[in-house]
């Protein structure tokens, strides 16, 4: 015999142990062992193991394996489930308060869950209509400018696309896309404004955007050809059969229609009204469009062959990048592949083609929903355990009659699921109410999300409510089914263990921590939002209507608008400061080594007075003689060490590749948002086209003024719609991320408070009911109502203090880390901002407990004592 003990394969031994009937196991396993030993000696260990395995496999036969239903109990599941449902219904009816707390609490939180499910499903359904979706990749760039940090871009140069086709083998199709086909298309009398893309024929090979007419293989071959969407064709021609027609484009080109495509689905990250041929751009402007450095508005999508891995193509990208990087010296580009389905939700790359929901939004919604839903599950668990005292008798009787643990477990689970499904029905109704609010939460939402309820969605919802029911019912079901019949029937008081009470307290404490946390957070966020909106920018934004010039002659527009009597002043500028966008360059004074970043806009002669900027010294721009004149702010004079405002007049400046003479200095103002500091700023005039017109209105009847303005606009430009927004509204939109936080946390705070108060109400009712006798006797002995209320509330006080102690710092931290992470100017957080939300929650909580206690305390003691 060998020294080492040779054992049969463990897995098979275990497997056999698992499936073999108990009563024959010893005999068979013994035989297997004996034979294994015999075989080991005769045939060797390996062969013996193999034979053993075969023997075990062959043991799988009806005479040997355990029957699935070992508990040979009568098969009356349907009847039992009917009974469970009936009992569940009766219990719901008997305890209307508890039931409605449970159902409403669950329903409210389920709405959040439903929104999260619908939202996440929708985000993941993006771009899943492409036939070859699993093989489509986007080439993405990491660009590192000389001596600076690198950034990731969704865009790639058109050159990459062309070279992948010409110089590298193995791609099934390569589609370069250049965005920015935007302008007016005219056909006869009809002119429409549309936005689209330029691309090549391969576009139709890579993506599934079917053509309803035209040949996808040649539609985009020639310059000046265009494929319209059905919608665009209908708008222009009133029909879709338009191949061969010629459209006049706003830049003077004549575009030939070579195809009509179906409208792109809403859930596509590529959107277009028309597709121009990329050749058009290349023919007109070959060097710029196809230069290596021009990677700001073009994309390259590749279709890999069946079974190919993107890793195997990385070498091609690396080689291409290396060759092209060698020809330039002020930046380097590295390229990689991004899988189509990873594009939405977005992972923070710059220059996305269209608005893309950032992944962190999706994640935070999922996390918040999970917190809220779990919190409501706690509630159910909590209340059910509280009621276990009353249900104990039922459990005892069932057990005595012969119910097993599994039966009772399934009964309580069925009950919980029943409640969850009732809650789901209410939640779906609530969902419809909340949906519009959610869609307008922030600008990302309505552009990327619809929250439509499809049958699949309902299926998910149903599955979700089953899960919720199971989760919520799990702990009570386990506790109830464990109860011992003897102790229950002897006296229900024995099952009230302190351990369970502690768990309930922890659960309630958690809920209150959440409620207080959200309440504090919403206070802080709304304060910051109000602060940002009312922040004094140093110029006048009130009653200023910003009009998008849309390429018209500003002088004509000015003249037209000035005819409207409600207009106090008109000015034009290259852009709107303080709404997010900026324009800057390095500025120098005499010292060539000392430069500073200075922000700028280009304005007309009216702007400074119209917008209420205060010119400290010097003079305004004069019509016609503005070429090298510049007006700066105080800070710029200071930063460039030019001296006092008065000293700065007439001094030279080097800025935007030319020298300027300072003709005026304005008081400092804020050109950005609360997220950046007041910085050096300069006004120029006549350097750039003006795309924005500021109308200063007299306050009054806005509606009639607007219609007059619209009429004035139509005189100058009958084609385009009048597009104007109040400056204050634009600023408000700039802070939409904060307002979205305020709304989200507000809603969550509301829900969390509702849920925790409902839970507390249940607990209070339970506590009062179970201590009714004690309370009554105390009252008889002379306790006042307020004594009793205090007595009942006292127990909850430490709970609230602990919750607040956790919630307040956590909320403050979250406020600092998320909402005001980038803010330079922010609110001063004082004791009231921090504790206000928590105190409110505690206040509501005590009202809840107090109302119950007072109700009990006010009852006629004689009646209570007689009843008990």
């Amino acid at each position: 015999m060998k020294d080492k003990i040779q054992t049969p394969p463990t897995f098979y031994t275990r497997l056999f142990r698992w499936f073999c009937k108990e009563d024959i196991y010893d005999e068979l396993q013994g035989d297997l062992d004996e034979e294994f030993l015999f075989n080991t000696q005769k045939l060797g260990h390996k062969k013996a193991r193999r034979l053993y395995q075969r023997e075990v496999i062959k043991m799988v036969r009806p005479s040997i394996i355990k029957s699935l239903n070992t508990q040979q109990l009568p098969n009356n599941h349907t009847a039992m489930f009917k009974n469970y449902t009936l009992v569940a219904l009766r219990n719901l009816g008997r305890n209307k308060l508890f039931s409605s707390i449970n159902i409403i609490g669950l329903a409210i939180s389920m709405v959040v869950g439903l929104i999260a499910i619908a939202f996440i499903t929708e985000m993941n359904s993006y771009d899943d209509f492409h036939e070859h979706g699993s093989r489509i990749y986007r080439v993405v760039n990491t660009r590192t400018p000389l001596n600076e940090t690198s950034d990731e871009y969704a865009t790639t140069s058109v050159l990459t696309g062309r070279r992948l086709v010409n110089d590298f083998a193995g791609f099934e199709a390569v589609a370069p896309i250049y965005r920015g086909l935007s302008g007016d298309m005219t056909q006869g009398e009809v002119t429409i404004t549309q936005r689209g893309i330029y691309t090549s024929n391969d576009f139709f090979k890579v993506f599934s955007f079917p053509l309803i007419s035209g040949n996808p293989a040649t539609a985009l071959s020639d310059p000046y050809s265009v494929v319209l969407t059905e919608e665009t064709a209908m708008k222009l021609y009133g029909k879709t059969d338009v191949v061969g027609e010629v459209i006049e484009y706003s830049n003077g080109d004549q575009l030939k229609v070579t195809g009509v495509a179906k409208n792109p689905p809403f859930h596509s990250h590529i959107q277009f009204d028309a597709i121009g041929s990329l050749e058009t751009l290349i023919t007109k402007n070959s060097t710029t469009v196809t230069s290596w450095g021009n990677m700001w508005s073009s994309y390259v999508y590749v279709l890999l062959p069946e079974g190919a891995k993107p890793e195997n193509y990385q070498a091609s990208l690396d080689q291409l990048a290396a060759e092209e990087n060698a020809k330039v010296n002020h930046f380097q580009v590295a390229m990689g592949f991004e899988y189509l389905s990873d594009i939405v939700p977005g992972n923070g790359k710059y220059n996305q083609m269209y608005t893309i929901m950032p992944r962190k939004n999706v994640e935070s919604i999922a996390i918040l929903a999970l917190i809220v839903v779990l919190s409501a599950c706690f509630n159910y668990t909590n209340l059910s355990i509280a009621r276990s005292v009353k249900r104990g008798k039922e459990v005892g009787v069932r057990k005595v009659v012969g119910a097993r643990k599994t039966h009772l477990f399934s009964q309580f689970i069925v009950e919980a699921i029943f409640v969850a499904i009732l809650a789901l029905v209410i939640a779906i109704l609530l969902f419809q109410v909340v949906r519009p609010g959610f869609l307008t939460l922030n600008p990302y939402m309505d552009r990327t999300t619809r929250l439509e309820l499809t049958p699949v969605m309902y299926l998910y919802f149903f599955g979700f409510s089953l899960t919720i029911g199971f989760l919520a019912g799990c702990v009570p079901a386990m506790l109830m089914s464990k109860l011992k019949p003897v102790s229950i029937l002897k006296g229900i008081s024995t099952i009230k263990s302190s351990r369970r009470l502690d768990m309930r307290k922890v659960l309630i404490g958690l809920q209150f921590t959440l409620s207080m946390g959200f309440a504090v957070l919403v206070t802080l966020a709304s304060k910051q939002y109000k602060f940002a909106l009312s922040y004094d920018l140093g110029f006048d934004t009130e009653n200023v209507l910003n009009v998008n010039v849309q390429g018209n002659d500003t002088e004509l527009l000015k003249a037209a608008f000035l005819k409207v009597p409600e207009i106090k002043g008109v000015s034009t500028a290259s852009m709107v400061p303080s709404t997010g966008s900026t324009n800057s360059d390095y500025a120098r004074y005499k010292d060539p080594m000392d430069s500073t970043t200075a922000y700028t806009i280009d304005i007309d002669t009216e702007y400074l007075s119209n917008m209420g900027h205060e010119l400290l010294v010097g003079e305004n721009f004069r019509k016609g003689e503005t070429k090298d004149k510049i007006i700066i702010n105080e800070l710029m004079a200071e930063r460039l060490k030019i001296g006092s405002p008065a000293e700065a007049l007439g001094q030279p400046l080097y800025y935007y590749d030319q020298s300027w003479t300072i003709i005026g200095v304005v008081r400092n103002f804020h050109h950005g948002t609360v997220n950046n500091k007041v910085e050096p700023f300069a006004f120029t005039s006549g350097r750039q086209n003006h795309s924005n017109l500021n109308l200063k209105l007299v306050s009054g009847d806005i509606t009639s003024t607007m219609s007059k303005l619209e009429a004035a606009w139509k005189e100058v430009d009958p084609l385009h719609d009048f597009s104007a927004t109040f400056y204050d509204d634009q600023i408000e939109r700039t802070y939409s991320d904060i307002s979205a936080s305020v709304k989200t946390f507000g809603m969550l705070a509301g829900i969390a408070i509702c849920i925790s108060i409902l839970g507390l109400l249940g607990m209070a009712v339970y506590t009062t009911e179970s201590r009714l006798k004690e309370l009554t006797i105390r009252k008889v002995l002379g306790a006042t109502v307020s004594n009793l209320v205090l007595l009942l509330s006292k127990g909850f006080m430490p709970l609230f203090i602990i919750s607040a102690a956790i919630a307040i710092p956590a909320a403050y931290l979250m406020f600092q880390r998320t909402i005001v992470k980038y803010a330079v100017y922010k609110i001063n957080v004082g004791i009231w901002e921090l504790s206000g939300g928590a105190l409110l929650v505690i206040g509501i909580a005590f009202l809840t407990i107090g109302s119950q206690a007072a109700k009990a305390a006010k009852m006629n003691p004689a009646k209570n004592l007689r009843d008990q």
Binding site: L28, E34, E35, R61
Partner: protein
């Protein structure tokens, strides 16, 4: 008659148990069949046959001793009952009578079991 009908494999097992006398248990039956008939049967298949035979009352079984090579598991010994022996004999007689009807091929058998 239901219960007395014997399948070919069942007959083989019954005979083997008789041959092994006091020492008929899973491993020995399996090994005997392998040696005599050169048939490799799985322990699972043998179990099915044994349990059928026991159901029909043709064999009986009892728990035996355990030893180290069996990992401490007890053996189960099998023994052919009188009914079993009768069934075997009935099967043999049926065959003999059939053989006897085939002219020139009549063979002599020796009854070496009682």
């Amino acid at each position: 008659m239901k219960g007395s009908h014997l399948g070919e494999f069942q007959e083989l097992v019954l005979l083997t148990i008789m041959v092994l006398k006091e020492n008929a248990y899973g491993v020995s039956i399996k090994r005997e069949i392998k040696d005599r008939a050169d048939r490799s049967i799985s322990r699972g298949a043998l179990h099915t046959a044994l349990s059928r035979l026991e159901e029909k009352g043709l064999i009986e079984s009892w728990q035996g001793e355990a030893n180290k090579e069996r990992g401490g598991m007890r053996k189960r010994y099998y023994k052919v009952t009188d009914t079993g022996a009768a069934a075997l004999r009935a099967a043999k007689e049926l065959r003999d009578s059939l053989w006897n009807e085939i002219p020139g091929l009549s063979l002599q058998y020796q009854h070496h079991y009682a």
